[in-house]
Amino acid sequence: MKKQNDNKIRKTGLGARASRRISNTIIYIVLIIITIVWLFPFVGILLESFKTETNMQTPYLFPKEFGFDHYVKLFTKTDFLKWFGNTAIMGVATAVLQTIFILSMSYVLSRLRFKGRKALMNMMLILGMFPGFLTMILIYKVFADAHLIEEMAPLGLIIVYCASSAMGYYVSKGFFDTIPKSLDEAARVDGATRFQVFYKVIMPLSKPIVIYTILMGFMAPWGDFVLASYLIHENSQGMNVAVGMYEWLSRTNMNTHYTMFCAAGVIVAIPVVAVFLALQKYYVEGVTGGAVKG
């Protein structure tokens, strides 16, 4: 039995230093395992893309013969370059438009007070509970009439990505909420209009969230499969990378395109990972800030 009130000074269990060493060793082992598990697919995809001996899945990881065959084929024998271009254009356009929309909405909701503000926020909350994909049935019909599908799908998709993007205002509103309100007030007393407050005081202070929003906008088209496949159908000229490459891993194409998929995957990942790692700091700020604010 443990004594309830043991006030003696003595060592219980291991000493401070020994116990720390043991726990740290365990943690290092776990972290190394995690690193291997998490990097495995990426290393795998990279290695398999250099295999020249076969197009199929193989029971080994390291290529028997290194070579760039699949990369060459990718650009000469498929529409991959077109898909890549489509996605890149969509990425840039979405980044710009989405940023404007989201920042406008979140700034207004965070800093300005007007009639209907609460109602607007509630409306967007409720709209957000519908599966967003549902709207595509009508949008597809309308876009089909306006010739914004298939070959022109990238344009249609830019509209779809951006039009309602302001509903995702939460993270940046959370950021704006942390800028003290007295800055606005001081500027207004100093003689600024609301517009001047916006671009002379708040915008210069909001670099992290602007970059975060741009980053999210840029990355969206690279990963989107569902909306894109809906508008594109099977038209190769209008595809983005996700829809185009998805077909390569279907049961019928798997044995001829598997390694090519890996090569394409590497090329797709490079720009996104480069941008992402360069701006990682801002991404982390956005994720943590947004989550803590809820």
Partner: protein, 374 residues
């Protein structure tokens, strides 16, 4: 350089939360007015209504005779210093101070001249190229004041500007604000919750509570003749002692009976009681701690009590004492008046006898809490 006039100003938040009401005040040109009161009393709200940062629910605010209710803050020609300074973190000290001038497209030479002049007065010339985060608390404070100074505005508003500083810097900046005031000679409205700041800075003090003005007057007026119990207890530190007791009128003499002692009301206070024709009645008696004196057990005017806390402040001694039936009093005694033996006897648990003079009493109505002599 302008007068400010508030007429029947009222502020309602939401549907029925009243923050300020029946606010009437004439502020003369170049006057230094201080709004003081506990937090939540509506003083900041009133200031922000004058600045145009809050809508005015009812009543009017005039600056220089012009009703400004509907004017944007920038059209009111006011300058304001915020509690947390509200310096723009992305601008240098110079650009912070120049911000309002830049908005008006003032030519650069004039901006330079005005900003450097203000910086010189405030002693921050060497920091002009720094960003605010590289400054200490009082330096930021100076920049905030400087930013308001370059405006040449009609009214200078300050919202608790010293409350973010530590005690020593606060005293220093307080003195500097007094000096500053002589240099920039304009109308000041200053909000604080600290009665010392209010007393030392203001030409006149507006004491507020729960949205109502309690009293407006010079520091001397509010100290000597508080209109009600709240003002009496709020102004002066440590706060005034109050106790329920009976005022007895015997012939043309008045007595009070705190805790069995019998003390005669003398001087001006007695005359005023007579003038008001007040008879025997229940009152709340107020006596400031510094008006108590030590006495001895044989004095019929003495109140016996026990020391529970002895605070040695250096030049004076604050004694927290408990009277027989549990009431607490604070007594303030200058240390010079005490002999060494006396000082040694003033320890926890010992019994002392205190009394006060007849001319320093304040009388309040137990029901309305109003000063009986006004």
């Amino acid at each position: 350089m302008a007068s400010v006039k508030l007429t029947n100003v009222k502020k309602i938040y939401g549907k029925d939360t009243v923050a300020v009401q029946e606010f009437n005040l004439d502020i003369a040109d170049k006057e230094f007015i201080v709004f003081v009161g506990p937090s939540g009393c509506g003083k900041s709200t009133t200031l922000r209504m004058i600045a145009g940062l809050e809508d005015i629910s009812e009543g009017t605010v005039e600056i220089d005779g012009v009703v400004v209710n509907d004017l944007q803050p920038r059209d009111r020609n006011i300058a304001m210093v915020f509690q947390n300074y509200a310096l723009y973190p992305h601008l240098t000290v110079f650009e912070n101070m120049a911000f309002s001038l830049r908005l008006k497209n003032v030519p650069n030479e004039i901006v330079y001249e005005k900003v450097t002049k203000a910086a010189e007065i405030l002693g921050i010339t060497e920091y002009l190229t720094r960003k605010p985060r590289a400054l200490s608390g009082d330096q930021r404070q100076r920049v905030a004041i400087g930013r308001a100074m370059v405006r040449d505005s009609k009214v200078f508003l300050m919202d608790e500007p010293l409350s973010n500083l530590d005690a020593k810097l606060r005293n220093q900046m307080r003195a500097e604000i007094i000096l500053l005031r002589q240099k920039i000679d304009t109308t000041f409205i200053y909000v604080t919750h600290d009665q010392t700041e209010a007393m030392t800075l203001g030409d006149r003090i507006v004491i507020m509570k729960d949205g109502f003005i309690q009293q407006v007057g010079t520091p001397t007026e509010v100290f000597d003749m508080p209109l009600n119990l709240f003002v009496a207890e709020f102004i002066g530190a440590p706060k005034m002692n109050t106790f329920k007791t009976k005022l007895v009128c015997e012939g043309d003499k008045y007595y009070v009976n705190p805790y069995g002692a019998k003390i005669e009301v003398t001087g001006k206070k007695a005359e005023m009681l007579k003038g008001k024709r007040i008879g025997s009645r229940e009152v709340i008696l107020g006596v400031r701690p510094e008006h108590f004196v030590l006495s001895s057990s044989d004095n019929p005017e003495a109140i016996p009590c026990k020391i529970v806390v002895n605070e040695m402040m250096g030049s004076e001694l604050h004694l927290h004492v408990v009277e027989d039936n549990g009431d607490k009093l604070i007594v303030r005694i200058p240390t010079v008046s005490l002999s060494d033996e006396q000082r040694a006897s003033l320890v926890y648990g010992s019994t002392i006898y205190v009394t006060f003079e007849g001319k320093v009493m304040h009388f309040f109505d137990p029901e309305t809490q109003a000063n009986l002599l006004v």
